[in-house]
Structures are given as C-alpha cells and as structure tokens.
Symmetry: C2
Subunit: 452 residues, 2 copies
C-alpha cells in the first residue's frame, strides 16, 4: 500500500502552444502524461518514465511475457549494440542508415544502437549453427529499449528516439512452418489486445524495407495517428488507405478515412537475413539450408501512449483496467471534519489493507492529502483515471459506516454506490477479478465526477 503524497509525480501546467525541449505539444497523451507527472522529456525524443508510467510499463511487460510464454516463446536478450558490419551485409546499413544512431568503440570498431534485431538474431543462429531441422521451429523474444534517430521526434511517446519494444523472431524450415508460428503469434497479439480491451485491427501491409513475403500492421484508430485507414461500414472491412480512391476493395462502397496508430507489426521474412549472414539449418537430407525467418514487434511505450489517446479526454487520463498505474484510490475524510474525528485516518488505512488483501495486492493508493477537501481530491483523482475510487465521506459517520464507490466508465465515473464495509470489499474484489466490463451499479445513470 502506498501513500499518494509519497509518489514522485511532478505535476505541472503547460501553456497552450508550449514548446518543451524543442518539441511542440501536439497530442493528448503527450500533454496529459507530462502535466500529470508520468513522463518527462530529457531532450527531443528522449523520455524519463516517472514512477507511475514505469508501473504501467511493468504491467504491459508482464502481460506481454504472459501472452508470449503461453504460445511457447522463450525470452532472451540481445545486446543493444549490433556490429555495423552485420547491417552492411544485409544492405540495411545503407537503406536505413540515416535513422541509425552509431557508436565507435575505442578500437575503432563500429556499432549501431539497434532499432530492431533481425541481423543480430540471424548472426546468433549462424554462430551456434547449423541447427538440425529437428530443433526448428524456434520462437525467441526480448523486451528491450530500441533506438531510432527520428528526424523530427513528435507526439511524445508515440514517436520517440528511444522506446521499449517487444521483438520476437521465429526460425523455421519452411514457409508452412513459419505460417504456423505466425498464426500462434497472431493469437498471442489478439489475447494481449483483448486483455487491454483496445480495438486494435490487423490490416494487411506491404513488407517494405523488411523485405519479407507477408506482413500485417496492428492498428489502433486514433486522431493522433500518422497512418490512415479506410473503414468500410458496409462490409465491415478495414484496410490501409493506399491511394486516392475511397472505394472499398471488397464491396465497392465508399469508405471512411480515419487516422490510426501502428502499435505492432508481424512479418514473414523468408531467408533474406539468414542467407546474407549464413544462418543455416541442416535439412533431413543433410543439406545446409538458410533458415526461414519471421519477426514480430509491439511498441510498448507507444502502446501506453496510444491507449491514453483513445481512452482519455482532453482533461483526464483513462486507462485499460489491466494497466492503470493503481487500480484503486481511497480518499479519506478532510482533516478536522466530523467524519475525520468519527471515522479517522487509522480506519482508512485498515480499509486499505483489507482491500489489498481482497485481490488488490500492491494496487491500492491512499490519498493522504487530508488538508484538501474531498471535492478537490476527487477532481485530481478523476484526472488520473483510477479504475475505482472509494470515498470515506459523510456517510462513514452512519452506523454501520457507508463508503462511496466510484467506478471508471468511459470518460467519467459511474454515480457512486453507497456500501457497507463488507459489501464494499466484496464488490471491489468482484470488479478487480472480472475487469470492469459488466459492473453492476444499482443506478446506472452516468455522472461526470468533475462538472465543468
């Protein structure tokens, strides 16, 4: 259990048209995460994740681990620095060189700060190889910071120069074997995005600079997105908008264009990297054959910002329940009030412990800013978007004491429900166990906590 006053969360107000560290404030997540003290730029495109954002990233990483382990993927870690000569061999040093941050060591050896690790993975497979066909398929992944020297970093964590990414690599004998792995990873992606309850669509994509044979982008429609999707409401199809025509490929109806954020990508690569770097396997007939590769990525810090883009409003953060920094905030009585003297701060702390024990271990935050009114603290809580808020207000002076439970719904909160202590604990445990999908609220009329 943590106390709100102890959280390192430097809250600031950003004036309209502000330019922070040479970067314009251009979108909602960038502004809110900075103003609410979750993220802080150090220079253009580089960000410090402050403790609340770090908690969100921890939760995203745990979910990614869980979904990847379930499909049999094995986590490992490649170095951030890849020898430049490997990228020279695959031709990418020239192709994307200007986007690479480069390093030379004291002996003059050249490295790059990897934006992705196809070369490093192919080199590893070459180094340990040749594997036997019996050892394939293999599915390996890592979660680590990647680097890209964006010409114009923008939109905060949506387009930064150092970012956390899941990258996974499949090694196969045949296209059919790769296709089976591709489907498994697709199911892991779907599970992850289902847990986050985000409407992320898989759309066909050109393989582009990666040079593969099949590829999909995973797109989350949002105003701040830099990609354009063509949505057809008639046949329910979604595709990348590639040309001037707004006519749906499938049913010839007119489509609607929406902006979208690419949060993930999946590729069947084929043998481009393995052939260039000598990553072979030994086939059944003993022939050394280039490994057929696939690769997969999800931008973790980008996904954090993207979820804020679609769930928050201009003034208040909102989160997928599964990754909110804390699941529940308790607001105690104002110091000196009748309920303060009758109910007291120790009771609030005990309630916090009981809620932690009811399935919310490590997820309860106590608002100990007693000198502020409940209204003021409620307004601040609304801005942070805790999935649940418990207020120990006037009704805690009743016998038995009653607590107000607010549950996040859309951009507001449900009208508070008054519950006795045991009812409260049961209800909170139920919601925490289910996710916030079908929460039973006696009076379902929505109420915006902060009336503007």
């Amino acid at each position: 259990m943590r106390y709100l006053s102890q959280i390192f969360q430097p809250v600031i107000t950003i004036p309209r048209d502000a330019v922070i560290k040479n970067t314009e404030i251009t979108c909602k997540s960038q502004k809110l995460l900075l103003e609410c003290g979750l993220v802080r730029p150090t220079s253009a495109g580089f960000f410090t994740l402050l403790p609340l954002a770090r908690r969100v990233v921890n939760k995203l990483e745990n979910l990614v681990n869980q979904c990847m382990e379930e499909i049999g993927a094995q986590r490992m870690s490649l170095p951030s620095l890849t020898a430049s000569k490997l990228w020279e061999k695959t031709g990418r040093l020239q192709d994307v060189g200007v986007e690479l941050l480069k390093v030379e060591d004291r002996h003059g050896k050249k490295y790059l700060l990897s934006p992705t690790h196809e070369e490093a993975m192919a080199d590893l497979l070459a180094d340990i190889g040749p594997l036997s066909y019996k050892q394939l398929p293999l599915l390996l992944y890592q979660i680590s910071n990647k680097f890209r020297d964006e010409p114009r970093p923008k939109h905060g964590l949506l387009r930064s120069r150092e970012f956390s990414m899941l990258d996974a690599y499949g090694a196969h004998t045949t296209p059919a074997c790769a296709s089976e792995t591709y489907d498994r990873v697709t199911s892991a992606y779907r599970k992850l995005f289902d847990i986050l309850q985000l409407p992320i669509h898989r759309v066909s994509a050109p393989s582009g600079a990666m040079g593969g044979t099949l590829s999909h982008e995973w797109q989350l429609p949002a105003d701040a997105g830099e990609d354009i999707l063509a949505v057809c409401h008639k046949c329910d199809s979604i595709a990348r908008a590639h040309n001037e025509s707004k006519v749906c490929d499938k049913c010839a109806s007119e489509t609607q264009y929406v902006n979208s954020i690419e949060v993930g990508h999946t590729f069947v690569l084929g043998a481009r990297y393995s052939a260039a770097l000598g990553a072979h396997y030994t086939a059944r007939d003993s022939t050394p054959t280039p490994i057929f590769m696939s690769c997969y990525g999800i931008g973790i810090t980008r996904l954090l910002a993207a979820s804020v883009e679609v769930l928050a409003n201009d003034k208040a953060l909102r989160w997928p329940d599964a990754i909110a920094p804390y699941k529940l905030l308790i607001i105690g009585p104002k110091e000196g009030s009748k309920e303060w003297s009758m109910h007291g701060w120790e009771e609030v702390q005990t309630l916090g412990q009981e809620l932690e024990a009811a399935g919310l271990a490590g997820e309860v935050l106590l608002d100990d800013k007693h000198s502020h009114t409940i209204g003021r603290r409620m307004k601040a809580a609304d801005r942070m978007g805790y999935p649940m808020i418990v207020v120990c207000g006037r009704s805690t002076t009743e016998n038995p004491p009653k607590y107000e439970l607010y549950v996040s719904k859309g951009v507001g909160y449900t009208k508070p429900v008054l519950l006795a202590r045991t009812e409260l604990i049961t209800e909170v445990a139920r919601i925490a166990g289910n996710g916030n999908i079908d929460v039973t609220v006696k009076d379902s009329k929505e109420k915006h906590v902060v009336e503007n």
Copy 2:
C-alpha cells in the same frame, strides 16, 4: 511446464586455451555459462543472454524490485542516452571520457551511452525543481542496461561492456537525512544477499571518481575477483587491501589476502552533481539549496556470474535456489524400459503438473530426451545444477510407485530419497517453501551424482 528438448540452449565444448570473439576464456563462470548454452558473446564484451540466463536475470530483477519497493523506493526509467553536456558540466566527461561510448545524432548533438546516471538524475531534479524540503527524502531506482567501453573486456559477464544494473538515487536535505536513506538501502542489500545466501561483505571504500563523502563496496570473495580483500580471522574483520602491509588495522594480527568481486556499491555523494547541474530544493526559510544526493548500484548480470563463480565447480553449474533457471527437473524412464511401459510418459507429465501446483508454478522442467539413459541425463542435470531432481526410475514399477528425489547440496547432490507420490509432492513443496537450508534427508551422507 516446459520440456527440456524445447529449451533453446546451444551446448558446446570449448577447448583449453580457446579464444572466443577475441576474448580469452579466463574464468569458471565464463566457460560454464558458454558451454552450457546460457550465454553467448556477440563480440568482445557484449553478450546475448539465452533463455536460461534470461530466466535467472528475471528472478534477480524481481528480487531487486521486491527489496527496493519494501524500503519505499520507486522504480522509474531514465533514457540510456544522456546529453554529453551534462557530463561536461560535472567534469566527468573529461575524467572518465575514454570509458564512455559516444553517439552523435543527425543534428550533431552529442550523447553518451550512460554507464551510470548521477548527471541524468540531477538534471531531472533540476528540471522539475525546485522541490520543497517537504517532498524530501526521495529514493528512486531503475534497472537497465549500462555501457562501459572497457579497454580489455574479460571474465565474461564479470567485466562486460553492456550489462544490466540496478541504480538507485537518493535526494535529501541534509547529510543526516541521506544517512537514514543510506541505512535503508543497506538493509535492502542485506536482505537481497541473504535471500541469495551469498557471503557478500560490506567494506569501506574510497569514494574515488564519484566524489562523495562516504562509500562502501559490497564484495563477494571469489578467485576470479579483481579486487583484493584483507581478511583477519582473529577479529573477524574484512577490508580492502590497500597497501603492502598484511597487518590488520583493528587487532594488529596478520591478515589473509583473498580475491573478491565487487557486486555492489553505495555512496553518499553530497552536492557535487546537484550543485553543478542546478538541482535545488527550497529550504524551510525559502532559500534555494543544492540537493544532498546519494547513489547505489548492483551489477545484475555480474551478480549472476559471481554466484556461479562461488557455487559451481569446474564442471558443473550451481545456483542460489532463489535464482536457479528452473527449480526442479523430472527425468522420466528410458524409452522401451520396463518402467517406461509400466509407468509411462503420461504419468510423468501428470506428476509434473502436480509438482507445479504444489508451489512450483513455472519452475518444473521435464526431461523428454527418452532415448538417452537415465544415467546420461542425470549427468547432464548435475552439470546444470537444478536445485531438485526427481528420477522416475526402476522403483516406479513398485506398488505404489516410488520416486527418487535428489537435492542439490554444495557441489553435489544428496543421496536420493525414495518417496511415494504424495510424500514426494509434500517434500518438494516443503523444500520449495523453505529454501534448501535445512532439508531433512534420511541418510545424510553426501553423494556426488557424477563420480569422476
């Protein structure tokens, strides 16, 4: 539950005096981790952590998180790249410049790949500041990859150029306040090293290039260590050996010199970084005052290798129970044997599930190399150093079936205990719950599994 044959673990044999990626094989952990398929160098001083090593690092990170959160530290993440001008301001760009890997972006702005983050942290405190004295002390930490351009990387993960590190930073008003935080972190270190059951000693250290007022090194005696400790057996004191004299400072007896690995460091820094970078707090009388800082580090990948240095022998890995890649291996019967037909592979898998349910979730590995004899697989298991090994051998044909339980002890295993299924599950759960400290073994005579 995982199957041994599916683990990506490229096992190799390294000839004596081998030079791998321009680096000599000079110590036990370097050789064993490479031969057993846990770690793989990509070039001098850079390493890929393969899945089993990554599991060890995950466990170390979780323990570090647990110990740091318990003392109220808050995790965050600073970018790997720090603007060089910050290091210019504190004078360290010149002092340690040759050890830094440097990067220039496409606009010519200079960065360095941070080996540590005192400058970045002070700059953050300056950027959000001035904090009020009421907001201090603060204790922030991160776990991330750090970089150091070692002139001669050696000893594998003990001295590499990219390594995982815990680094923590305290912000205080006064030396007394810093001292209190210093004690809290000291207690977290002690707890972590107790959990690992490693004899790590805190010894006084010169503050050196960090420029502080108080500092300790955390030292683990081991032959591969590059530091020298003077151990006095009379007064039980341990100190860094600083001069030619072997006489103990405390009791004037003769000391013994031992090699040692520095696995952690703690510093009271004072205002060196905060004054240079303008990180102030507002004192009670409204005066802006430089923040009094402290900092703390633990080398996570170094700790992995160091624990192997002290626990393994030349031929077999051994681990602290808390961080072994898997806690238990089950070796099933050889295909075609009497026990194979009577007991069967499905029974072994069910046993695995039951053991996972008995407090070993995710910690049971099934040896599915049925075609190999039990003896051969036992030898391979000994080399990996699983804390517990269950063999489904000849006694599984008895009624009821009996299983052999081996428990890691020192560099060998205890003599096997024969247990019926429910006894086995109870005993394994007990050992997993207690750690492997006071394991009751009916016949306590030690037996080396692999007789050489």
